[in-house]
């Protein structure tokens, strides 16, 4: 069954309601009703193509944040076998906003980890609505080192509104925890692939996504700051979030065009939540394809490419840049 919960999906929801009304009748459906059903279904598909083919940035944000969107736990369940969760940072705690461990991906052992938002209210509270504490980033750090020790590729799944902005987070050094991960990931001696599956917000997202390849689901976003925060910072009013989202170029398409990501992974029509199995299969096959490529590189080559990947970012955004003047 499809789900249409967003405000811009009202027309889709209306048609879907009519379809469901008819479908309820099952075998008792009359001939003309069967024709109608067929018509409605065609109409729905056309509408979906129209709406989802032309999502505004703000609509994309809504889809990326859809409460039914598949989470890291769903992707792990659907893509991997023998998931063995690794918990705790060995320092302070076990942040439930990060879910990670060892798993078998198509027969290959990997470290897979990602942001976990939590589905119901209780889970959302436990996961701090997906916003990691410092101990979450330090758990990631531990898993990264684990991966490096056993030459396991690292898969990270990004779905975080932003790092946790609380008093405790400042106390225990959220900035330090993120910064350390950036440094460690940039030089980790094993392949890293990041997939943005929902929203990738700010340094909180970056802290698990310095990678050899960054892939984004079609309707996911990746941004320097949440649109609300950016609007508040730039224009002193978070009500301008939609304008900020648009201006900051945060969609997969924008970022592919800016050459900041390697690939856009298509979603089922209507968004990833309409068919989790299908989207998981697409993500899995994209990961495996990139992994095979990365596996062909020597470690030194891998690290040099990763360095240059980041070294180059922003250079085309600079005027007056001397050419070839690096030491």
């Amino acid at each position: 069954m499809l789900a249409f919960d967003l405000d811009f999906e009202k027309r889709l929801a209306d048609v879907d309601k009519r379809i469901q009304g008819l479908q309820k009748k099952g075998s008792k459906l009359k001939g003309d009703e069967r024709v109608k059903l067929n018509e409605y279904q065609q109409e729905l598909e056309t509408l979906m193509r129209e709406v989802y083919g032309n999502l505004t940035t703000w609509q994309t944000v809504q889809v990326a944040r859809h409460p039914k969107r598949p989470y890291t736990s769903d992707f792990i369940d659907l893509m991997c076998e023998n998931f063995f969760e690794l918990r705790g940072d060995r320092r302070y705690g076990d942040d439930r906003a990060i879910l990670g461990g060892l798993a078998s991906l198509d027969g290959e052992t990997v470290v897979i980890l990602g942001n976990q938002k939590g589905r119901d209210t209780k889970e959302r509270m436990e996961c701090n609505f997906g916003m990691s504490h410092p101990e979450g980033y330090r758990k990631v750090l531990r898993l990264l080192r684990h991966a490096e020790r056993f030459h396991l590729p690292v898969i990270t799944l990004v779905d975080i509104p932003g790092a946790s902005p609380g008093l405790e987070d400042e106390q225990r050094g959220i900035a330090q925890a993120i910064a350390e991960n950036l440094m460690v990931m940039s030089a980790l001696r094993t392949p890293i692939i990041t997939v943005v599956i929902g929203e990738g917000g700010s340094g909180g997202a970056l802290g698990i996504s310095v990678a050899d390849r960054i892939l984004m689901l079609e309707h996911s976003i990746y941004t320097v700051a949440s649109p609300e925060a950016a609007a508040a910072i730039m224009w002193r009013d978070s009500a301008y979030a939609a304008s900020a989202a648009e201006a900051m170029k945060i969609t997969a398409k924008d970022l592919k065009q800016l050459r900041l990501i390697e690939e856009i992974i298509p979603e089922p029509l209507g968004g990833a939540h309409q068919d989790k199995a299908e989207v998981a299969a697409s993500v899995k096959s994209a990961i495996l394809r990139h992994l095979a490529e990365l596996r062909r590189k020597s470690t030194e080559d891998l690290l040099e490419c990763r360095y240059q990947r980041y070294r180059d970012i922003g250079r085309s955004a600079i005027a007056n840049l001397p050419v070839g003047a690096l030491p």
Partner: protein, 294 residues
């Protein structure tokens, strides 16, 4: 780090900054108000005191040039690099508050800067050092592609030449107007610092007021040694934002240098008058180590 404000005095022998000379930017008899306690001072007293309030100890922001003059040896030259790099507005950013292009031009006129960071090499107490000095006046010291490039370039040169790196931070974080390009400068600079660490070249961070957001969550927290000026606000999420979003009232010290020291995030707090001597002491320790290796 024992150089907290109370006991800090600058040994005459290391007082190479000659702050009196360095700070001559205001007319002598202009009255200046301490931004914190509102104490009124004459411009010359304010500058003679390195813009530290003699009443409340507040360390006011310095411009990049003032900071450089304070730190490097008087007889030495600051050799600036990448001075002309400017952003070409990669997102063609659509602002609700006028175009940013005109803002940038205005800033360039008023500050004499083309970007929020000044980068180059200088001599401190006889020892060469690569300096990265941020200037909060230019778009709140925000980091976009140019800032990331200049800092990365400085890190790479320091690594290659095996010269210690000193970064003085002052920034509101990543520059929204450059979107994910700005965000990625956090990773870019951190990647260069990873190579510097691997090479065993020292990296000293000086945290100045204010340093927040993406700058804090990248190179500002990756120093081999990290010192801060007294009272400097240093946070990922500033205390005002925490209070607003969490609907709580925070203890007064949250997010300031003293708080970071108590929570294990920095090595010390150094009064501006002791700053050069402290950094020089550290540079000599590393210099001795480097010499011992060869």
């Amino acid at each position: 780090m024992s150089d907290d404000g109370k006991q800090a005095t600058m040994p005459a022998s290391m007082n190479g900054a000659h702050p009196d000379a360095a700070m001559r930017s205001l007319p002598d008899n202009l009255a200046v108000k301490c931004p914190k306690c509102r104490e009124l001072l004459l411009g010359k007293d304010w500058e003679r005191n390195l813009k530290v309030c003699p009443k409340c100890g507040h360390h006011a922001q310095l411009t990049a040039q003032e900071r450089i003059d304070l730190l490097i040896d008087e007889e030495s030259d600051f050799e600036q690099i990448d001075r002309d790099l400017v952003s070409n507005d990669p997102l063609k950013f659509v602002s609700l508050s006028g175009t940013d292009r005109s803002k940038l031009d205005g800033l360039a006129d008023s500050t004499g800067l083309k970007e929020s960071v000044v980068v180059g090499s200088g001599i401190i107490d006889g020892l060469p050092v690569m300096l990265v000095i941020m200037d909060f006046r230019f778009l709140g010291g925000s980091m976009g592609a140019v800032v990331g490039e200049k800092i990365t370039h400085a890190i790479e040169i320091a690594t290659y030449e095996r010269i210690p790196l000193l970064i003085a931070t002052a920034s509101g974080g990543a520059r929204m107007q450059e979107g994910v390009i700005a965000l990625m400068q956090m990773a870019k600079t951190s990647a260069a610092l990873a190579r510097m660490a691997e090479a065993g070249v020292p990296y000293i961070v000086l945290l100045t007021d204010p340093t927040t957001g993406g700058v804090t969550a990248s190179f500002a927290m990756l120093g081999d040694v990290t010192i801060a000026e007294p009272g400097a606000l240093v946070a990922f999420t500033g205390p005002r934002v925490i209070e607003q979003s969490m609907h709580i009232k925070l203890p007064k010290d949250v997010g300031y240098a003293e708080y970071l020291l108590a929570h294990g995030m920095i090595d010390g707090i150094v009064h501006r008058r002791a700053l050069k001597a402290t950094i020089a002491r550290l540079l000599h320790l590393y210099d001795d180590a480097e010499k011992a290796m060869n």
